[in-house]
């Protein structure tokens, strides 16, 4: 007999069994650069928050489930996440993306700027969770990048290149990485499983996606050890309206991306890294990590999921990293992603 306590607590926190933790010195990550990056990020975040100055109020209207609500929130500080917290716990848990004034897609932890009407999007949003799905795919790519940068031993340096525009229909999300000291590598089943497990483990730690619009110089400073990103930053800055580069941070991993991401990594449900393909590009040998995932709350039986995994094993035909003017950075009317 189950007790009808509405317990939404996490039952199991993932703790790696002591038997499987490597005692090798090879496994410890490079923490200096990461600390430096995060320091810069934190400082910029703080600076931007202080730049708001005097706190003014704004009216936010919410139409939807469970009830229509009008909120008075702080301009430049309150995020859609805060609005959701005022309305219902259910919204807090399941919402991944917000829609402002029916035109702009907004991250959950991005401060709102003026009076608006807000809608929350989740995995089962009606009539069409299209934007949520895209944001989710994009976030999965980013999380994959975070996982890859920590998964390898010390003698193999992963240099993250980028990930193409999310295409859910292709069947997999993608990250292109260069792995030094690994010219020829096909991952074994176990290695793929480890990557998948790492991804789920990272997701379960419930990291927020911190968004920050940053100047070109600061971005170059943050990515000084990543040769690919250093090249990309000036392009991105040029193509955006206000010459800012948009960075996202999960935990201590920072990456560049234009589009909206979901609010929190714990919306990741099932996840599998299905394949790693070797690409020959002008930058050398890059590895295309591919995976498939479903958000939390979407139910699918294991056979159907295995079909999705099988499809995701095939090489994703998204643009190769050396294609010039990669469509990831298509200029828009404003720096935010918007729908017609």
């Amino acid at each position: 007999m189950k007790c009808f306590t509405s317990c939404f607590y996490k039952k199991y926190t993932y703790t790696l069994s002591r038997r499987y933790v490597s005692t090798s010195k090879n496994v410890e990550p490079l923490s200096e650069i990461v600390a430096y990056q995060n320091n810069l990020f934190d400082n910029e975040q703080k600076k931007q928050k202080e730049a708001v100055g005097r706190i003014e109020k704004m009216i936010i209207k919410y139409h939807g489930v469970p009830e229509n609500v009008t909120l008075s929130m702080n301009k430049g500080i309150s995020t859609p996440y805060d609005c959701a917290k005022h309305i219902s716990e259910m919204l807090v848990k399941r919402t991944g993306l917000a829609l402002v004034d029916n035109t702009h897609l907004w991250d959950m932890h991005r401060p709102l700027e003026s009076d608006c009407e807000i809608t929350f999007m989740h995995a089962q949003h009606l009539p069409d969770p299209y934007h949520f799905n895209r944001a989710y795919w994009r976030s999965c790519s980013l999380i994959l990048g975070a996982v890859i940068s920590k998964a390898f031993k010390n003698d193999i340096q992963p240099t993250l290149h980028s990930f193409p525009s999310p295409n859910v229909k292709s069947g997999s999300f993608v990250y292109d990485v260069e792995l030094s000291n690994l010219p020829e590598w096909t991952p074994t089943e176990n290695e793929l499983r480890i990557l998948s497990a790492n991804m789920v483990k990272l997701a379960q730690t419930s990291y927020r996606f911190d968004r920050l619009a940053v100047s070109e110089e600061l971005a170059l400073d943050i990515f000084q050890d990543n040769k690919f990103k250093k090249e990309q930053v000036p392009n991105i800055a040029q193509q955006s309206i206000d010459k800012k580069v948009i960075l996202y941070r999960i935990g201590d991993h920072i990456d560049i991306s234009k589009g909206p991401m979901i609010g929190n990594t714990d919306l990741l449900g099932r996840c599998t890294i299905t394949a790693v393909h070797r690409l020959d590009t002008k930058y050398g040998h890059l590895y295309r990590f591919q995976g498939v995932s479903l958000p939390k709350g979407i139910m699918l039986n294991h056979f159907a999921y295995s079909l999705l995994e099988q499809r995701a094993k095939k090489l994703n035909a998204a643009r190769l990293p050396d294609q010039v003017n990669n469509d990831m950075f298509v200029p828009r009317f404003s720096s935010e992603d918007s729908i017609a």
């Binding site: 007999m1 189950k2 007790c3 009808f4 306590t5 509405s6 317990c7 939404f8 607590y9 039952k11 939807g64 489930v65 469970p66 219902s88 259910m90 919204l91 399941r94 089962q124 009606l126 069409d128 299209y130 799905n133 859910v168 229909k169 709350g297 729908i339 017609a340």
Partner: protein
């Protein structure tokens, strides 16, 4: 005097022959308690002999005592319960979902309480009105309950053969009559697609 003697005898038998002692107790001799003839004797403080026997009764004969060690499996079973029968540990419920229509929680495979309450209130009203209207006459026609102004929307033939019961209220927003009914209206010719970036 007699009681004292009995006890002495019991004690003597106990020291030499346990079987004889038992015989004494349960065989011919009545229980020691009943053979007290002189109540005054009982009020005397018990002598050393008596204490000994009493102590023996207390310590040597063990009643209601575990015969075997309880295994760890049994102990854990009693402590935590059995998964297949009655588990005593608190387990998180994994069968609570959010209703997509009203946003409240519902149990898997059950109706959403919020949505159902709405329907239930409406239904009880309908049922009251119908019962009042039809009474005890033989029911020979299908009953249809209409809201204010719904009757005039459809032509007369539509209501032929049906018993109409009218409710003097506006139709609630959430009530959708055409869930399972087929219509003669075909698919729309409208070519607009919203939103514009449909998957």
């Amino acid at each position: 005097m007699k009681g004292l003697l009995t006890f002495k005898r019991i004690k003597n038998h106990l020291t030499f022959n346990f079987n004889a002692f038992c015989n004494v107790l349960f065989g011919q001799m009545p229980p020691p308690a009943l053979s007290f003839a002189n109540p005054v004797e009982t009020l005397k403080p018990s002598s050393q002999h008596l204490i000994d026997v009493q102590q023996l009764f207390k310590n040597s004969i063990l009643w209601a005592v575990p015969k075997h060690r309880r295994t760890i499996e049994k102990r854990l079973g009693r402590k935590f319960g059995y998964i297949t029968e009655f588990y005593k540990m608190l387990m998180p419920r994994t069968d609570l979902f959010t209703c997509n229509h009203c946003g409240h929680y519902y149990q898997r495979r059950h109706l959403c309480p919020n949505c159902y309450k709405r329907v239930k209130d409406e239904t009880t009203e309908f049922q009251e009105v119908i019962e009042k209207e039809l009474g005890l006459d033989p029911i020979e026609q299908e009953v249809v309950v209409l809201y204010k102004g719904e009757k005039t929307k459809k032509p007369e033939e539509f209501w032929k053969g049906k018993r109409i019961v009218e409710l003097k209220r506006e139709k609630p927003v959430w009530f959708c009559r055409n869930l399972l009914q087929r219509t003669t209206i075909g698919n729309s010719d409208c070519k607009d697609v919203k939103p514009s970036e449909l998957a």
